[in-house]
């Protein structure tokens, strides 16, 4: 079969014939379709805008609440920290007066306060440190001096304060500082009280 023969054959396949009434009505059918689509799209746009506004308002409210809670919690935390620090300073000042050069550490754990005192008055009252140590068995607060030892995660560790007031807790298998936390499984927070004494 040649190309002209194929063309001739293709043209023998007419499209379905439609009545004149169909052709005269079709444009108005399209107009109806457009009119039907328009209010729907306006409605959809309105619905989308309403949905978006609702979602935005809800999202904004949630964000505001979260920010409020975060600031509140942070303020409470700061207040608690300040209170902690003030209490620690007061406690260590009173106890060093009572036991001069004998106080090694004050350990506050599970509501109990334990004093660790040296038999001899040989404790160097260097920079004081407030530690908060949280391990598997719970949390403990320890007030001690730089150069003393504290028990962290079943290990005796040295507490050291450098000239800038940075606290380092060094154990046989880890070293902790604010910049470098390698105390796996134990959370430590420390604050030097040295300048207050």
């Amino acid at each position: 079969m040649t190309d002209p023969e194929l063309n001739e054959l293709l043209r023998k396949s007419p499209t379905p014939s439609r009545s004149d009434a169909y052709w005269s009505e079709f444009p108005s059918l399209v107009s109806c379709g457009i009119a039907r689509a328009a209010p729907q799209s306006v409605f959809e746009r309105k619905r989308f805008r309403f949905g978006f506004a609702t979602a935005f308002a809800t999202g904004l409210t949630v964000v505001c609440l979260l920010v409020g809670f975060w600031f509140g919690a942070r303020r409470n935390q700061n207040a608690a920290r300040l209170e902690d620090t003030a209490q620690a300073r007061k406690l260590i000042a009173e106890l060093t007066t009572l036991f001069p050069h004998q106080l090694e550490a004050i350990v506050i754990e599970n509501g109990r306060t334990e004093l660790r005192l040296s038999e001899k008055a040989d404790v160097l009252e260097s920079a004081a440190v407030l530690l908060r140590i949280c391990g598997k068995t719970g949390c403990a607060r320890v007030i001690t001096f730089s150069g003393q030892q504290v028990r962290v995660n079943e290990q005796w560790c040295d507490v050291l304060v450098d000239s800038r007031g940075n606290v380092i807790v060094a154990g046989p298998r880890f070293v902790w500082s604010k910049a470098r936390d390698a105390s796996s499984g134990t959370q430590i927070d420390a604050k030097s009280l040295g300048d207050m004494l």
């Binding site: 190309d3 194929l6 293709l10 023998k12 396949s13 379905p16 079709f26 399209v30 379709g33 457009i34």
Partner: protein, 184 residues
């Protein structure tokens, strides 16, 4: 030239929401779009739906018509895309062909012309949709390969290749008809 100016006026007025002007455009191109839709879908009723969808889409997309091509070419592009989407909707070419066969199996086929028309449309429906659209635009709508390429959004060589492949298949399928035999 007058017809062109008249068309530009209708387009401008349609852009402003004048439905009467758009109806004039529809009236001018409705047969062309119906023919294309029928060749592509193989179904008279689907062709009506696709044609209506095409004009509704054209009305909403009129701002996108820049006037650098003929309005008919722009309309062809919308219609072809709608047809290809229609084919995607029914997913398989085989399904489209089956639909066409089912729709036409009870049609009263009397004279030779009706037998040929039936066989030709059946062969068109067996073509790949891309090949079918290239063939319909060039063979039925008498567009150049370049114009068809613009409408289909592909290279002119791609259109040429699709037309060549479609023609080769149609010749193979329709040769028995010409020789007096039966077509699958």
């Amino acid at each position: 030239m007058v017809a062109h100016d008249e068309e530009q006026d209708w387009i401008a007025r349609s852009r402003k929401g004048d439905h009467e002007a758009f109806e004039a455009l529809v009236r001018r191109y409705q047969r062309m779009i119906h023919a294309l839709a029928f060749r592509m879908t193989g179904s008279s009723s689907d062709a009506e739906d696709v044609a209506q969808e095409t004009f509704i889409a054209a009305f909403h997309e009129l701002d996108g018509f820049k006037g650098d091509a003929r309005f008919s070419s722009w309309l062809y592009r919308i219609a072809t895309n709608r047809c290809l989407n229609w084919i995607k909707r029914i997913e398989r070419r085989a399904h489209a062909y089956e639909s066409w066969v089912n729709e036409n199996k009870d049609a009263s086929i009397g004279n030779d012309d009706e037998v040929i028309a039936h066989a030709v449309q059946g062969a068109l429906m067996k073509l790949d949709p891309q090949q079918r659209s290239a063939l319909v635009l060039t063979a039925y709508e008498n567009l150049s390969h370049a114009e068809a390429a613009m409408i289909l959004g592909c290279a002119e060589t791609t259109v040429s290749w699709r037309v060549f492949t479609a023609r080769r298949k149609l010749k193979r399928w329709l040769t028995p008809l010409v020789k007096g035999g039966r077509v699958d």
